[in-house]
Amino acid sequence: MRDYSGLGTGGAVASGDVSERISRGDIEHVAKLARLELDAGEIEDLTARLDAMLEHFADIDELQLDDVEPMTQPYPLVNVLRDDVVAPGLDRDEVLAAAPDAVDGRFRVPPIIGLDG
């Protein structure tokens, strides 16, 4: 088993070539995709930690995978359809009661366009 004692301790583990693999800019971009407003400390921490993880995950690069079919589900079932019968759905008022904000039978959200560039 490899030695993991140095991992997860922040920037100290990142060697030169590893830190090229994932940059602070990458993390900022991915955070935007993931809709996370990370603070500066989190960005720094994630850059180092994801780097360390991806270095570990490079073990699969040694495998010859060209002719291997990707596996997306463990027990293949195709065209799963329910019976074509009317059944009650969730109660609208009960669903809306769990929402942070609702009005007139709908979820209410802040403005979607016009403010975010």
Binding site: L36, H56, V68, L77, V109, P111, D116
Partner: protein, 477 residues
């Protein structure tokens, strides 16, 4: 705890035959909760009033001569990522603060129909991401056998609830070992069935192609009975296998005479010597009971950790996109929707959940998809194929469930990769979709329990349970 109550089936038998009331059984367990829950913190919510009403309904059925169900009066603890209508379901996350689901999970409906009494919702690593139940927004759960140690995770609350006598049965969910590892660390039985045997409807999704619900119990027979009650096709889950629940109790006592038990010769190293010693003892016990040991190879086993930590976060990053402050839980107000999403998610998710969302989003992002996610899906195929080949030579495989006994709180919290290694031996079965379970088999370092893992091929639960029963019989002498 009263030894007579250690088996859920014995307890149900007493309730069904009027030797004991469900109400008395419940009060016994509530008293245990009152005594030790403050130091253990197994529960996010204890449902005293609801449980008393459910127990009274079971007793009424018995009094009126109606069948109260196979699990009559059995107190059950539900991991708090299973939806319960009108009852908070938090996933131990701030982002689901205040949410009361508008429906019950299928497993909850089936347990109630079987006469079980839900006593509470148990603590977990936030969104089931972790191996120690320390990543909870509500604080850690402690191991009832040694409160300085973790109960394992992510279903640590349910495992601890059963080990502490707070409930006779716990339900957990297992995405990479989250039932089997805490079962091992708490000295109870824990089972992950074949993917699709137990409905996921109403289980808050972490990684949909890996998640399976399963039981924690004191005995192998109890686990079999719970799976018979909650398993079987559910039209509400499109990945549910269109077959009835497996029949397990009928063949439990059939022994292992003539069975081929596989030893994985290329299993990744790293289990502690005390754990290895118990696994060897398990092989010896099965041989003594008439089984044959055969050497098999599962070369891709060692790549399971990498494949899992690319696939599970990728699926999680997609599943957790739904927490956006619109339909449920937390919202941090902002002048526009996009900023509201970003602030809500930043405030609502804990560090480990953010790490996995980031890792998963990265692995799925343009330019990296083929290098990471696509490659991981191919490795997943290799693992499933390797297992299928091994099962041509062996009926079941035996391995450690966890590399170590329960470890001290705080031991791995600063080192996510060390925490991930807790799942080395459990992850491959989630990737292949095959069943596997942890059975307590003696004690290791510091007198703490060791779990031996029994792995079986797709829908091979009946054989797996016969092997587990034999191990339990041996362990109990």
């Amino acid at each position: 705890m009263d030894e007579g109550y250690r088996s859920a089936l014995d307890l149900a038998d007493d309730v069904r035959n009027g030797r004991q009331t469900a109400a008395a059984v419940l009060e016994h367990h509530l008293a245990a909760i009152e005594l030790r829950e403050p130091e253990i913190h197994a529960f996010n919510t204890v449902l005293v009033d609801e449980a008393r009403a459910a127990a009274a309904a079971v007793d009424a059925a018995v009094a009126e001569g109606r069948d109260p169900g196979p699990l009559a009066g059995v107190p059950v603890a539900l991991k708090d990522n299973m939806c319960t209508r009108g009852i908070p379901t938090t996933c131990s996350s701030k982002i689901l603060d205040g949410w009361r689901p508008p429906y019950d999970a299928t497993v909850v409906e089936r347990l109630r129909a079987a006469g079980a009494v839900v006593v509470g919702k148990t603590n977990l690593d936030e969104f089931a991401m972790g191996s120690s139940t320390e990543n909870s927004a509500f604080g850690p759960t402690r191991n009832p056998l040694d409160v300085t140690r973790v109960p394992g995770g992510s279903s640590g609350g349910s495992a601890a609830a059963v080990a502490a006598g707070f409930a006779a049965v716990g339900l957990g969910s297992d995405t990479g070992g989250s039932i089997r590892q805490p079962a091992a660390l708490c000295g109870v039985v824990g089972v992950k069935t074949t993917y699709g045997v137990v409905s996921r409807y109403g289980l808050v999704a972490f990684a949909s192609s890996l998640d399976q619900i399963g039981p924690f119990t004191h005995t192998v027979a109890d686990a079999a009975a719970v799976i018979e009650a909650i398993g079987g096709h559910d039209p509400a889950d499109s990945t549910s296998i269109p077959q009835p629940a497996p029949v397990l109790t009928a063949t439990l006592g059939d022994g292992v005479e003539g069975l081929r038990v596989g030893r994985i010769t290329d299993l990744p190293k790293g289990a502690d010597p005390d754990v290895e010693e118990r696994v060897e003892a398990a092989f010896a016990a099965l041989v003594a009971a008439g089984a044959t040991v055969v050497d098999v190879q599962v070369p891709a086993f060692t790549y399971g950790l990498t494949a899992y930590y690319l696939i599970a976060p990728a699926e999680a990053s997609s599943n957790l996109a739904r927490y956006d402050g619109v339909r449920y839980g937390l919202r941090v107000e902002a002048p526009d929707t996009n900023t509201m999403y970003m602030r809500t998610r930043e405030a609502g998710f804990g560090d480990e959940v953010k790490r996995r969302i980031m890792l998963g989003t990265y692995a799925l992002s343009a330019g990296y998809y083929d290098a990471y996610y696509g490659k991981a899906l191919k490795v997943r195929r290799l693992i499933a194929d390797d297992f299928a080949r091994a099962y041509q030579q062996a009926d079941v495989l035996i391995s450690p469930a966890s590399p170590s006994v329960a470890f001290p709180l705080g031991d791995k919290t600063d080192n996510p990769l060390a925490m991930y290694l807790c799942d080395t031996y459990t992850i491959p079965s989630n990737l292949s979709g095959d069943p596997a379970m942890s059975v307590p088999f003696g004690r290791g370092a510091d007198g703490l329990p060791v779990g031996v893992q029994v792995l079986a091929p797709t829908l091979g639960e009946a054989t797996m349970f016969r092997v587990a029963q034999t191990l339990e019989d041996t362990a109990r002498g």
